[in-house]
Amino acid sequence: MVSLKAKGSFLRLYSWLPIIFLYISVLNEFDFNYLNLDYFSFNFPFILIFYFTLKDFKHFDYFLVFIAGLINDTVVGLPLGVSSFSYTLICIATSYLRNITIRPHPIKDWFYFLFIISLINSINYTVLTLFFSYNVVLINYLINNFFTFLLYLVFVYLFKQYLRGLND
């Protein structure tokens, strides 16, 4: 009885892992998001949100994603709402892709991901420079965009393993 209860709790925790990882990555100062290496940075929340909203994962609540965006803005020091806006846009994009796709293909998803993150980073750059007069280095955004795109496939593999583990 006790072991069944413990197993149930573990399963519940396991099923909430993506959202927990999302919150850790936005709260953690040594973020997955911005590793302090020259010419290397990638946006882990973008990959996480894109993949799990595309899969319509039941524990990946849009509202929680929205709150994670607000937290990311606070921690990074961006104007409030910018990351929430970006994350919501990813959710919209994945929802649209889900609606128009009959037969999903990982490579198609990958390039669609590149298009979406490029669009979102462009919007972010424009909003920060035009509306908030921030000085932001464009090359950093491009590098971030490139590595996020490259690492998508690696994380997709890991996420697939996670989902397989959940189904088992």
Partner: protein, 410 residues
């Protein structure tokens, strides 16, 4: 054509409005809310400011808690690497400490001079208290260079408060919450600091390069040729954003082809900051004090004046001691001179006595020879009866006399 457009509209509408069973909000609602929040955050409304402060307080603390495990690993790594160079650093620090001690005394004197001069021009005196603040969030973002400290409006931190690492400038506060504050580092692209370049005394503005260095953003035409490698950069105090005379870093000139770029290497390593000092300033106007002014005694009682008085007393004691040592030194010198002259006199005496002794020895030998000559001279003198004798006055004769006659070897 029309059907594909309809499909697109349906897909978009579905993406925005369709709410799955587990979703609480539709994406359109969240999209509108986030846009609304961006608009509100661009407006500086009081309500929004307080709301933001509340969110910041909670998020910064949560971020600090979540970062504990990784910080622990990071700190352990740094500590281990620090231990390997421990002794070397200790020696270096010891030397630096001695240097700093002497610098401290001279800076105290400069401060008192500064105060006197300010009193002369009826300026204000800013008494500053440096409070120690811990860095609770140090987000290594490639876009924004900022840190979160655990001091806020409760500790008199204000927007623009200067933040130091030891005595080096690190940045200034750009956002204040009740118990936390965000500090914009000098390495951020949005940071602009009016500086003076020494020893050329050139005014300039530096900005961060978004990495870990700074660069000269503005300098008057023609002055760039005068700048040399390793020039010291400190705040000029122009615009009253930063206090004047705070060291920032050293200048390094990078020459590529025909163009040269000026980089600023900060004294402080922003990636290694754990604790910083926040300079909480309170301004007090200075009035001219007469000798009869009773408030003068209060002014004398301020801790700074008391410190200066102690230092002045110390200086006086050291000067007195120096004077005494000098006098003693003079006395000892004259004593040494006297003794040296006495030694010369004694040396002369000894020489004369030696001469006398030598003369006495010669006389004694002569007397002995004459005495023996009288007794044994006939045995040694050559004569008719003594054909084996020696001529008088010859060395052989003298030897023979001293030997009391010829030595018969046979």
């Amino acid at each position: 054509m029309a059907s594909s457009r309809d499909d697109f509209i349906i897909a978009i509408r579905s993406a925005f409005l369709k709410k799955s069973t587990q979703q609480k909000f539709s994406l359109l609602t969240l999209f509108l809310i986030s846009t609304f929040i961006i608009l509100l955050s661009s407006l500086d409304l009081k309500f929004i400011r307080y709301l933001k402060i509340g969110i910041n307080e909670v998020v910064y603390r949560s971020s600090f808690v979540v970062s504990i495990p990784e910080n622990f690993i990071k700190n352990t790594f740094f500590e281990v690497s620090e231990y390997t160079t421990f002794f070397k650093n200790y020696k270096k620090n010891e030397q630096e400490l001695n240097q700093l001690k002497s610098n401290y005394v001279s800076s105290q004197i400069i401060q008192s001079e500064n105060r006197e001069l300010k009193e002369l021009i009826n300026d204000y005196v800013s008494s500053s208290d440096k409070i120690l603040a811990k860095i609770i969030v140090d987000h290594e973002s490639p876009f924004l260079k900022s840190i979160i400290i655990n001091k806020g409006s409760k500790d008199n931190i204000k927007i623009g408060t200067n933040i130091y690492d030891q005595s080096y400038l690190v940045g200034r506060v750009i956002e204040v919450n009740y118990k936390t504050a965000r500090v914009l580092l000098l390495s951020d692209l949005n940071s602009n600091v009016p500086v003076t370049i020494a020893p050329q005394n050139i005014q300039a503005i530096i900005t961060g390069d978004g990495d870990n260095q700074g660069q000269i953003k503005y300098i008057k035409d023609g002055f760039s040729d005068e700048i040399t490698q390793e020039s010291i950069i400190y705040t000029s105090g122009t615009g009253a954003i930063f206090k004047s005379g705070i060291p920032i870093g050293r200048l390094s000139i990078l020459k590529e082809n025909l163009t040269s770029s000026f980089n600023v290497e900060f004294y402080s390593d922003f990636s290694q900051l754990k604790y910083v000092f926040a300079d909480v300033i309170t301004k007090t106007d200075i009035q001219n004090f007469n000798d009869n002014n009773p408030e003068l005694s209060d002014l004398d009682n301020t801790p700074m004046n008391a410190k200066l008085k102690i230092l002045e007393d110390e200086l006086k004691i050291i000067e007195d001691t120096n004077l005494k040592f000098k006098e003693e030194n003079e006395i000892l010198k004259s004593e040494i001179n006297n003794l040296e002259s006495e030694i010369i006199v004694f040396k002369n005496k000894i020489f004369l006595q030696k001469e006398k002794i030598d003369q006495f020895d010669i006389d004694k030998k002569e007397l002995n020879f004459l005495r023996l000559n009288l007794q044994h001279g006939h045995k040694c003198r050559r004569s008719f009866f003594n054909s084996r004798g020696f001529a008088v006055g010859s060395e052989e004769y003298k030897e023979c006399v001293l030997n009391k006659g010829r030595i018969n070897n046979g």
